[in-house]
Subunit: 216 residues, 2 copies
DNA sequence: GTCTATACATGGATAGAC
DNA sequence: GTCTATCCATGTATAGAC
């Protein structure tokens, strides 16, 4: 029985922040009760007292970090009204993530999932927060465009989220390469944005070809 | 001075294979000289004799594994002549990767890069093998399409490769979600493929809009 | 609730026998 | 080249003092 005193919550918060910092700065391989406790500035034994095990602390940190990150971007995402806007917001998030690292955190946790049993579901849940938000945006943005009937917002949201995680991980070993990748995706976004403004004749042609291609 | 005897090369090969298996099955967090040596069926001390340190073994395994994987798909990639073909080959690679795991291996190594100094460059090199191959395909496929003048094959190849790594990692925690993501990307590929077959008038319209959107 | 001390396991790395 | 033995650092987890 652990009463939820003010101090208890404070220590838990310190540990969660410490876990996030350790994971993003040191990676899953160097994340341990000791390193996290050191980053949090508390005693190593408190990890086990408050969370039972390192894995459960990491799972909690995942939920906590993902919720915090998504909440920070939620208003911006809600304001997006076109695909090119979404792409450029993605670029902006990427820039900020270079400091915060909440996305590559998910990458670290995905990498740890095979051995740390508790991590898989927690990471999936954290990713789902991003996915749900992006899916809303995509659904809104795609509505009324010629390819709304072919695009699957749910699947696309998952593709976008997973891709973003991959790119953030990639940036850790090749900053220039990751920049070039995002540039290219922005161009791709511009292409789709251009399609949104196509005339009715061309749109009908696109629709026709899509229907043919869509039959599998 | 280490003579390159037949036995030496055999042991090295065993260790490389063991490292690949351990990384894909156990993840970077549980990869150590002992676990790798156990998977390879050789003595733990041989890791240090042949490779100097665990990190250098992993770096070598990365080069070795990426080269092997890319070589296996090279003929298939060379035969691709359209974007939708590329997408469906991507799906096929994904299916095989579920067994082999050579792509999520790169994810594991990316996750380990922050702390293991030797891993960053090695992983970047491994990814570059994929990137180079995909870039060639993209360059060939995009040539002669209306958006060849806007698309950047080098950047796109990086985006595709990093995204693929992200999706393979994502699959480890959500198989259905990863499937939905790939389905959605295939639909997107069908969209672009449809554009390839547009008539000259519509293509001119697309080009016009792209030029406007491309000015930043 | 928190800390110190401690147990026990795992991992990196080397020395020396074969 | 390979193995056994060994050292030392790091990590998980618990017991018990404060």
């Amino acid at each position: 029985m652990r009463p939820e005193t003010a101090k208890s919550r404070e220590t838990k918060a310190k540990l969660l922040e410490g876990a996030l910092r350790t994971l993003t700065e040191q990676g899953i391989a160097k994340t341990s009760a000791r390193t996290v406790a050191a980053a949090a500035g508390v005693n190593q034994a408190l990890v086990f007292y408050h969370f039972g095990s390192v894995d459960e602390l990491l799972a909690a940190a995942c939920r906590y970090g993902a919720e915090k990150a998504v909440a920070a971007y939620r208003p911006r995402l809600a304001a997006v009204s076109s695909l090119s806007e979404l792409l450029s917001l993605g670029r902006e998030i990427h820039e900020r993530e270079r400091a915060g690292g909440h996305v590559s955190l998910l990458g670290q946790l995905l990498a740890g999932a095979p051995t740390h049993a508790a991590l898989g579901p927690a990471t999936a849940a954290g990713l789902d927060l991003w996915i749900a938000e992006i899916e809303k945006v995509l659904r809104r943005v795609l509505e009324g465009t010629p390819f709304a009937e072919f695009a699957d917002p749910a699947g696309l949201a998952r593709a976008v989220s997973a891709s973003f995680v991959g790119i953030e991980l990639y940036e850790q070993v090749d900053v220039a390469g990751a920049g070039a990748a995002l540039d290219a995706l922005e161009q791709l976004g511009a292409l789709v944005a251009a399609l949104e403004e196509l005339g009715p004749v061309a749109q009908r042609a696109v629709r026709h070809h899509l229907r043919r291609a869509g039959r599998r």
